[in-house]
Symmetry: C2
Subunit: 657 residues, 2 copies
């Protein structure tokens, strides 16, 4: 029988908290101690980005361990705790061509990080930081060798700053989170019906009249582009056109396909306002505006949206319809294709490749455009077959409040890609998690992105065969804590919101309820009530986590003693919670959920009693429980009780089914 | 019997969460609803500070309620939810002469805040924000009338940025916290043996060689002074001399009373290095340096420290002793008085009044100096009797980790002031809570200041007869939550530190233990081990709260069922916690405490059994429990188990004592 110390060593040598999982990992013997003698040495190629990254590494390690660490570099690599070695300068700005590979070797004597370019170093530094944990002796990193590189070169996160404005600080901390998960594209959805969120020097009425004063200045964008580049992250700007564009028309109604005036849209959905693609003035403004943006954003791609054009303004405008006929275009779809060709030429002139949603995919467009698919892998595979590059966002919509495991199983290269050649497959560049902002505010957005976006990040970085949800969830818990140190608020905001709801810090019973609730899924929130940009997002549905860990753990329980403990807690919780619910108008709507959770707890306990005694429940008992389960699975207050299915199982098992 | 709604209304009409308690408060009928129609109107005198304060009010109300609120001012005061009326411009910069009074009237129709100057408005805005709470109907503020003004004009918080460096962000968020509690002086302890924390243009070797690169730039100081002024807070800079000064000598050894070289001091205590007050070069540098600082800090006072001069360097220097004889000075104390007279003249030349610790009090100095007393009320009263102004810090040292109630009962005007005339009493201007930074880092400092400093703030603002600790603790809980919205980390940092210790987010058992622990008191930490500036402050003693709410609540419990619940939790907690303790080197030292808490829980339960059965425990049982209690009250890992006394009571009660 091994000594306890050895046991720990052995268990550590097969388990790690890394996310995304590296391409290749081999554990060695022993551990490297990280103490206050920690020193970094830089070797090989050096530049400002590497030096800044090394300083951030030290600052973060200090924060993460609570140990003051020396900030100066160790000149002698043989004496450093961690040597960072870079072969050569990489791309001047973050690019799709970046080599992100790295090798990390940790021995009990030293750690060494090697990469061809500084981008790989940035990735490897994140891996190193995730390795450092307290053990019975010290903070340590396990001895190991990692050879790592991403499966896909395009691993993005879209943040919609148009529907709900997200100030600079939100983006900065999310860039830090992205870097920690090795995501490399921040896709900024900058304009939409509900807001024009960027300053234009050439056409100031766009942001002045289309944003309620909530937009990024050119200076802020410069800062953001640099902040991202320091972390090896590209910024992809999106300017939606020809639809999703109402906010442009507040200051420039002459661009629309129907007479104004226009106002900023306050609700959600697909609206009629659409650019007039038949007037040369439209292209003159786009040429000026996109030229300005092309200089501000160094990325080779510029995203023009292009989705959900309903064509109503076009159909209703006889001059436009005449244009369609004159130019022999195939209806409104043909008109949009015409518009995109013109747009593509403008972008090309300004040195940019065009990216857009599925709808832009049209054989008239050159092969260097990029299609972002919200429709799915089939659409993506078809584009790739025809020679177009693409990325997947279908299945990665964080706003639909699906479990991490659901996103995790969506692969850009699934069976739809089976028939593609290797070259065609290589056109499928990756994917992007999308945080559409209808139902998130700066206060709640982190909790809707993290930690679930980490599951997408792993899907896009790690080998295809890395797909065990149990392992993913275990590591997700660790990475979620890790993100706390970067100032993300996905965990720290939770008690604040619950305390606001309760008006007290005595929130344990509210936490017990909230822990088994999830917001309704898909587009159900929009159907539940009329939301606008001004609707407060301060209710329990905004506070609860997108995914209930407690419900998942309960579903997986085999041990009936533990089940009883949970069920008893829930049965007794309403009595504890009721005094908090009634005095708060924000919690009033939650009362039926709390009552039902108590009833579910009781039902589960009774079912367990039947199962253990071998007795058979009466029909009336069974009817009552089924009615309860039926009611309890309905959404109320836009919330779902996530333990209904496992309790239903218990009840039906007791019924002898 | 009243309807439930009425009951709530009645109870609200006698209870509030305001802190500090206003001088005069009368509740009215009903409530003002705060919804998204909330608008502020400005009336009377207006200036930039008032407008900025109104914008901050709206932003904070948005944050606190989670409701987007309109940011534009309402031009018509009769239509506004809150009208802010200012009579006239106040002092150009925050000053001891500021009129801080205000009147706040809330009716179900409108709230109106009136103040003679903008400083009073700032105080009243904080009161208004504390009033807004969710009830069963909406966010509301209760109808009431408040006439408020401070008892003392000087209500400060000292933060020592020398021993542990505190970056700008720490000070900004603490200024926000101070403003929320109506504190009005941030005393910055900028230099000490362990660091020279401010940039000097005239003598750059001071900060360059004395700070490890950790100092405020002149630009940052300008920002901080403005940030504080916006909130009606003075900044009082302190430059310790002639002792506590080693860091100056690293770059300027010629100023010392013994030959160098000198290094930045890394440990704590009273050290020998001392300015040479006999050389004219000393005064030339002080004139230049203090002249520079006098321009940077607009406050009329400048603090020169002056405490804990041990005189060893002076006594050992024959040239200095000759000077003492030649000038007929009374030993080293006389030499320090000579130095202070010279210093006072320099300060006067630069338009500043001198402030210093008790030791500067000397009849040779003019009456406009200010004495800050760490010695106590007697010393303060004596100075006042002789015509000197003073403030109290004795009893307000937050680093000694006393309970809020201890600070709360310390009054600058206690029995020692009883014999003073009214005019003499008026020279006792207030007090300052002191956060000396030997054992705090930027990560932990907020949790050592807040919420306990709020008890000092109330003592200094509210009428003397406001002194019920139970009411104070109830409101302290509310104000502590309120401070969360300002970004203070006294609550949010707690789970992060516990998770770091445990290496997991499953920290409930660790929380249960931590909840009944407190750090050792007074100067015991320094005796427990050798601390330096580099010692990590990441152990359980750094994470636990200075004051255990759980222990206080348990001590006050009358209900034995609740007692049993607590005792059972503690008895069973070690079994749950042990798996977390062993694998973490940071928690290893905590094992004996966890074991003893379990034994204490068992002892308490057994004692309760005896008490309830009427049986008498055996002598051996009693001996065993007394030995346990003896051991458990000893500090271990620099921590105290705070439930020992109430459990001892139970055991002795069972023994029939």
């Amino acid at each position: 029988m091994p000594a306890p110390g050895l046991l720990i060593l052995l268990s550590l040598s097969t388990v790690h908290n890394l996310m995304p999982q590296p391409a290749k990992l081999t554990f060695g013997q022993g551990k490297l101690i990280i103490d206050q003698g920690f020193h970094v040495a830089l070797a090989g190629h050096q530049d400002a980005r590497i030096r800044a990254a090394a300083q951030r590494l030290i600052a973060r390690l200090t924060r993460q361990t609570g140990m003051p660490l020396p900030t100066e570099m160790e000149p002698d690599p043989t004496r450093a705790t961690l040597t960072i070695h870079c072969e050569r300068a990489g791309e001047a700005i973050p690019s799709l061509r970046d080599d992100e590979s790295y090798t990390l070797e940790v021995t009990p004597a030293q750690a060494r990080l090697d990469a061809p370019t500084s981008t790989g170093l940035l990735r490897g530094i994140e891996t190193f930081l995730q390795l450092v944990q307290p053990d019975h002796q010290a903070f340590t990193a396990p001895a190991l060798r990692i050879e790592d590189r991403p499966r896909f070169p395009w691993r993005g996160l879209l943040i919609d700053v148009a529907r709900h404005w997200m100030p600079l600080g939100v983006l900065e901390r999310n860039l830090d989170g992205m870097a920690a998960l090795k995501l490399n594209v921040l896709h900024l959805h900058l304009t939409d019906d509900q807001g024009f969120r960027i300053q234009s020097k050439a056409f100031p009425r766009l942001h002045q009249m289309g944003s309620d004063g909530r937009y990024f200045t050119r200076q802020q964008i410069g800062h953001l582009v640099d902040y991202a580049a320091q972390r090896g992250i590209r910024i992809l700007p999106e300017f939606e056109m020809p639809g999703h564009i109402t906010s442009w028309f507040v200051g420039h109604p002459e661009l629309a396909s129907a007479p104004g005036p226009y106002q900023i849209e306050r609700t959600w959905g697909v609206f009629n306002p659409c650019l007039d693609p038949t007037r040369e003035e439209t292209y003159a403004l786009l040429d000026g505006f996109l030229g300005e943006m092309a200089k501000l954003f160094p990325d080779q791609y510029l995203h023009i949206g292009g989705d959900e054009v309903n064509g109503k303004q076009w159909s209703a405008n006889s001059r436009i319809q005449e244009f369609v006929r004159e130019h022999n275009l195939k209806g409104n779809a043909g008109l949009q294709a015409y518009f995109n060709r013109r747009l593509q030429a403008i972008l090309k002139k300004h040195g940019k490749k065009m990216a857009g949603w599925d709808e832009i995919f049209h054989p008239d467009l050159p092969k260097d455009i990029l299609v972002q698919s919200w429709r799915g892998q089939k659409s993506l595979a078809e584009a790739a077959r025809q020679g177009y590059s693409g990325i997947l966002s279908y299945g990665y919509y964080l706003d639909l409040i699906q479990p991490a495991s659901a996103h995790y199983q969506v692969d850009p290269l699934d069976k739809d890609a089976a028939a593609l050649t290797g070259e065609q497959k290589s056109r499928i560049l990756g994917g992007e998690a999308c945080m559409w902002s209808e139902y998130v505010s700066p206060e709640t957005v982190d909790s809707r992105i993290w930690p679930r976006a980490a599951a997408v990040a792993e899907r896009l970085w790690s080998p295809q065969e890395v797909k065990d949800p149990a392992s993913m969830y275990r590591r997700l818990e660790a990475v979620s804590r890790h993100l706390d140190w970067l100032g993300l608020t996905h965990r720290s905001g939770y008690p604040l919101m619950l305390e606001r709801l309760a008006g007290t810090s005595a929130i344990e019973p509210l936490k017990a309820l909230a822990a088994v609730l999830e917001p309704v899924k898909g587009y159900a929130r929009g159907r539940a009530r009329r939301y606008t940009q001004q609707t407060p997002l301060n209710r329990l549905v905004d506070a609860v986590r997108p995914e209930s860990d407690a419900a998942r753990e309960f579903r997986e329980l085999a041990d009936r003693t533990q089940m009883r403990a949970w069920l008893t807690l829930w049965r007794d919780n309403h009595a504890r919670l009721a005094p908090t619910l009634e005095p708060s108008f924000l919690l009033d709507e939650v009362t039926p959920l709390s009552q039902d959770l108590a009833a579910l707890g009781a039902a589960g306990l009774e079912a367990l009693d039947y199962l253990q005694s071998g007795g058979r429940p009466s029909d009336s008992w069974l009817q009552e429980q089924r009615a309860l389960l039926e009611r309890a699975q309905q959404p109320r207050a836009e919330l779902l009780i996530m333990v209904v299915p496992p309790i239903r199982k218990l009840v039906e098992a007791a019924a002898g089914k």
